[in-house]
């Protein structure tokens, strides 16, 4: 067996190249959602069922949905990990300032102010790198938007002009203006990571994948995580959840039987456990337990979540919801637009291909 790894940014292009050239791997990692569709609709991937991979029956439906093609509802990959958008904080800084995880938006603001007064940058985030705007928006705003908004949006009863959505954007922009670093709109992603990992900032809004990165940058850092709160302490605290990708079999592979057998192993608890232990990622395999306390906590937080909105539902056409929200949030952060205008821009922009908005 030969194993090859590639850089993330070009992965889809490389994979498509190899598959189209007939030199594709037997088993491969594929992306989820829109990223999967590119490869799967071209017919390169073997369809998976609970007959061929029985363990899939126990997977969470949302995890499996991430690896389906919408048009035929068929499943093409064994999902391997979920990622969670939330707030990561520096425990030592919180302890030194006598702070606790916030239960309401006001508490979040108050504790940010306290950090600022103490000379600590409250949030390390910067928004010069486009995609960071999306993680900031949904890592901080999912609870403010709320489950009801999400359900209504999915049911076609609401669009992005909904005040639950636009009010959340407004609240995020206010926090950013006050409690992000000076000049955060010009601060790129690596610099923001650096600010947090070096202990100059108390919190970082980002994905659960950041935890390993921070521990790599600063092995002494002690991390905590919380779901950004809603308006009041009674509102459900939601994280933004998405599935990272999956393992798929090459439909034209020479060793298809062996591939399926291998996929069965990849869907097993044994593999999921090893994956979680070694890679410090939340495995999607049901029944996996987490030695890492932080990972266990993230796994708990996942029980109260809404999908990471733009990735899960709005990356199937051009313009993608991600591209739109990233640009619009950059505008909002530099005072060039309003939350209401963003709602309009998203709704009319997505109407180009998203049918529920086309009326």
């Amino acid at each position: 067996m030969k194993f090859e790894t590639f850089e993330a940014a070009n992965y889809n292009t490389i994979l498509a190249t190899a598959l189209a050239g007939g030199t594709g791997p037997d088993v491969m990692m594929v992306r989820a959602y829109g990223g999967l569709e590119n490869v799967a609709t071209a017919g390169y991937l073997e369809e998976l069922t609970t007959d061929s991979v029985p363990a899939l029956a126990d997977f969470a439906p949302s995890a499996l949905d991430a690896e389906r093609v919408r048009a035929d509802g068929k499943l093409y990959a064994v999902p391997f990990a979920s990622q969670t958008q939330l707030v990561i904080y520096n425990k030592a800084i919180f302890d030194a300032n006598g702070l606790a995880e916030p239960q309401s938006w006001d508490e979040l603001v108050a504790l940010s102010q306290k950090l600022k007064d103490a000379g600590v940058i409250p949030f390390a985030n910067g928004t010069a790198t486009a995609w960071q705007n999306e993680t900031v928006t949904f890592g901080l705003g999912s609870s403010l938007m709320g489950q009801d908004f999400y359900d209504a949006l999915m049911a076609g009863e609401a669009d992005f002009t909904d005040p639950r959505f636009t009010d959340a954007l407004g609240a995020i922009a206010e926090v950013a203006a006050e409690y992000f670093p000076d000049g955060f709109i010009g601060l790129d992603y690596p610099s923001a990571q650096q600010l947090f990992a070096s202990g100059m900032a108390g919190m970082f809004i980002g994905g659960s994948y950041e935890m390993a990165a921070f521990q790599g940058l600063n092995p002494d850092i002690e991390l905590g995580v919380f779901a950004a709160p809603g308006k009041t302490a009674d509102d459900a605290k939601l994280v933004g959840l998405y599935f990272d990708g999956g393992y798929a079999a090459n439909a034209a592979g020479a060793n298809k039987e062996a591939s399926i057998k291998f996929l069965n192993y990849l869907a097993s608890q044994e593999f999921g456990q090893a994956f979680a232990n070694m890679l410090s990622n939340v495995s999607t395999v049901p029944g996996v337990t987490f030695d890492n306390a932080l990972l266990a906590e993230v796994n708990d937080l996942n029980k109260s979540s809404i999908p990471y909105l733009m990735l899960a539902h709005f990356r199937y056409g051009e313009p993608s919801g991600s591209v739109l929200i990233q640009g619009e949030m950059q505008k909002l952060f530099s005072g060039e637009t309003t939350p209401e205008a963003i709602g309009e821009a998203l709704t009319t922009g997505l109407a180009a291909w998203y049918e529920p908005f086309q009326n």
């Binding site: 590639f6 850089e7 070009n10 490389i14 190249t17 189209a20 050239g21 690596p190 610099s191 990571q193 650096q194 990992a197 070096s198 940058l217």
Partner: protein, 286 residues
């Protein structure tokens, strides 16, 4: 004023000392602007990150080479450097060999279609090849050399040929026929004539053509970005992006990485500045 007086001696034509004073100030100011970023880069390479933040302009302790050691021992930098040498070297050999061959044929012999062939090469001068990256990508895939340095070497060779053929043909045409004819009388073969009589004469043009091509090839980022994914195959500019992404926390290392990347070409340029300037502007100076 003597007949040989240079233009500079006839100062009266272009105005007074006052004007020269102003021009001198412009030049000095510009040189400061040109050199300051490079000086700050080199200085910062010898500083720790806090020193860079606190006193960016201070002269560092040049014995502090910890940043460079880190690059030497902990990164793939040497590999990128070696790859750049291999790719640039192989491309230059191909460009000069093939370019001289074509120029020699066009410039030294009369045959039907020679003008057309020269035009064919010259057409390549003006075409921005970046815009053909999609077909090039597919072509490299079909040749099975994606993620292989041959893809870079081939593209660079093709890109370098038009200017080389242009420069070399012009030069070869100016060479006298006598030596060649005499050798031909003696029964020397065409290959022998080219190799031992003509080639030594075209060396100056080869130097110009080499410099004109070596800088863009050494510095290129776009084609590796599309063709090369494997970290061990990356050239310096592309490797630099990987490296800059990994060491974002350590500005001392970042600056020493930039300094090390810039050093080879800066040093060669300082030694050969005349040839560099002549070579790199030769396409634009008529």
């Amino acid at each position: 004023m003597s007949a040989e007086a240079t233009y500079y001696d006839r100062r009266g034509i272009m105005g007074t000392l006052g004007r020269d004073g102003l021009l001198q100030i412009i030049l000095i100011a510009n040189t400061i602007i040109m050199l300051a970023p490079i000086v700050i880069m080199v200085f910062s390479a010898f500083k720790t990150t806090p020193q860079i933040f606190q006193s960016p302009f201070a002269i560092p302790d040049f014995t502090h080479v910890g940043n460079f050691l880190k690059i030497w021992t902990q990164t793939n930098f040497l590999r990128y450097l070696l790859n750049s040498f291999v790719v640039t070297g192989a491309s230059m050999v191909l460009i000069l060999t093939l370019g001289t061959m074509a120029a020699y044929a066009i410039g030294r012999y009369q045959f039907t279609g020679s003008t057309f062939i020269l035009m064919f090469f010259l057409a390549g001068l003006t075409l921005p090849l970046k815009l053909a990256i999609i077909p090039l990508f597919m072509l490299m895939r079909d040749l099975n050399i994606l993620n292989n340095q041959l893809s870079l070497i081939f593209v660079y060779t093709a890109m370098g040929l038009p200017t080389t053929v242009f420069i070399m043909t012009g030069f070869i045409r100016t060479l006298p026929n006598e030596l060649e004819d005499a050798a031909r009388m003696d029964g020397a073969s065409e290959a022998r004539i080219m190799w031992s009589i003509m080639l030594p004469l075209v060396r100056p043009a080869m130097v110009i053509a080499a410099i004109q091509n070596v800088v863009p090839i050494w510095n290129d980022f776009f084609f590796p970005l599309v063709f090369i994914q494997n970290d061990d195959l990356k050239t310096l500019p592309q490797g630099l992006t990987t490296f800059m992404g990994e060491y974002t926390t350590d500005w001392g290392v970042l600056f020493s990485g930039l300094t090390l990347s810039a050093a080879p070409i800066i040093l060669i340029y300082i030694v050969l500045s005349k040839q560099f300037i002549a070579g790199m502007t030769s396409g634009a100076v008529k």
